[in-house]
Amino acid sequence: MRYLPLTHAEREEMKRAIGIADVRELFTCIPGGSCFPPLDRLPRALSEPELTAAFREFGRRNAFAGHLSFLGAGATAHFIPEVVSYLSAKGEFVTPYTPYQPEVSQGSLQAIFEYQTMMAMLTGLDVANASLYDGATAAAEAALLSVRRSGRPRVLLAGALHPEYAAVVRTYVQNLPIELDVVAVDAGSGRVDAADLEAKLDERVAAVLFQSPNFLGVVEDGGTIAAAAHGRKAYAVQVVAEAMSLAYLRSPGEAGVDMAVGEAQSFGLPLGFGGPYLGFMAVREEFLRQMPGRLVGQTQDLDGKRGYVLTLSTREQHIKREKATSNICSNEAWCALRAGMYLAAMGRDGLARAARACHLNAAYFAAGASRLKGVRVVYARNFYNEVLIETRQGSAAELAAALKGKGILAGVPLSWFDPAQKNRLLLAFSELHDRAAIDRLLAAMGERA
């Protein structure tokens, strides 16, 4: 079998060298009754053409191709340059191990150093790590970091944080002496309710986690939230579920927050039915030693040449064990490398243009939707690439179902996350959409509503 190179003759030779007659003799340490059970319930081996056909069959059972999609809410289809697919597929990037032997891993290490730099630039903060699993677990890690560093037990979560992110934070803290509380959303603006935030901030609060652009599509006023948090010596953490926004909106650093975490799938990663994606974390210098995850640092070698190594490893599990900043070991390294390739390939202006197109497409839709009788644009200003609409008749799920029948996946009904929000639908726009696609969406909505 092609993945098993030993020939029969070689196995015989090796057994002789070891001094055994049967390979099974090497397994006698295993309790007899459970050794080598029959495997006949498993399917038979498939050759490569059979395997390809089997997966084509899986693909055929999917019926989403050909639908015009406006799905977002934490994952978005963006343009991926062919060079990114080509370069990231190279065996030298796909198949290496973690770069613990830096002399033979400078490719991976330098690429991640460049990625860390670009994420620091985009977030406007001092240092970014080499990746976490996804936006949701990155938010959880930020909450844990805040508690660890401040010694305070309470974390406030903005009400318009992605429900899955909030759920993961809850899972992470469930057995730890950490309290969570939710800050209300101001219905009028779609933003963090400033009065509720003020009421909930006290000396026991380690951090405020807010998402911007948030789950209602609204861009928060990060500066005001950061100022409120800092007034009580709490940290302000901005959660970014759509990384493309970092290339269009004022950076988290500029807003004055202490940390930015989130999801960078938008930077060159395929939708992949949810994974693998790319969690990012960027912080101000003072949080460096409390930061979870791997870090690539610059140094020099014996001959004075510049080189890169994994560094500050004493924060991590393999050294600090139960006192580590996190238990994370394997991260999303290849995804980070690919994101770095995407950012380099698009470049400063290509990225800015793509990021702007996402917003302009959303703005065009919002303007068009506001002229439809059957729906209301809930927040007509200060959104980025996602627009929240409310149906006037019938539920959002019914509207989405009707449009699905016309070959359009018109967004995420919020009732999926909160049954009370029956009439709300969140639509996402990217640079892959154009006027024709959005007109088709509006027309279909107009017919229905």
Binding site: R289, S313, T314, I319, K320, K323
Partner: protein, 129 residues
Amino acid sequence: MAKENLLYSKDHEWVRREGGFVVVGVTDYAQHELGDVVFVDLPAAGKALKKGDPAANIESVKAVSDVYSPVTGKVTEANARLSDNPELVNQDPLGDGWIFKASVEQASELDELMDFPKYEEYLKGIAGE
């Protein structure tokens, strides 16, 4: 600093008496075991300590080590030079590489430490293992 005049703990801390206070650091054996020190996590002045509590933390490239307080008392000062120059712990562990100073609430605790000859014996014992 004359090593003969210091007291020692089983965890390779050294202690110098200064009136009602002590100065604490780690021994040459400890810095050698740790390797190149890259960071020292210093205690804040005023921090209350019980004998045996981890008072500070030393990181080398590949390892982390707690520095335990040999006395019950309060931290009066930490060696701020170590923030920018952690290598002092390697270069001059008994002198400029001192880590923190603390007040002593129970002088009898110092009697539980080893004097220099006993520490030398102790080190010989470890080498023999």
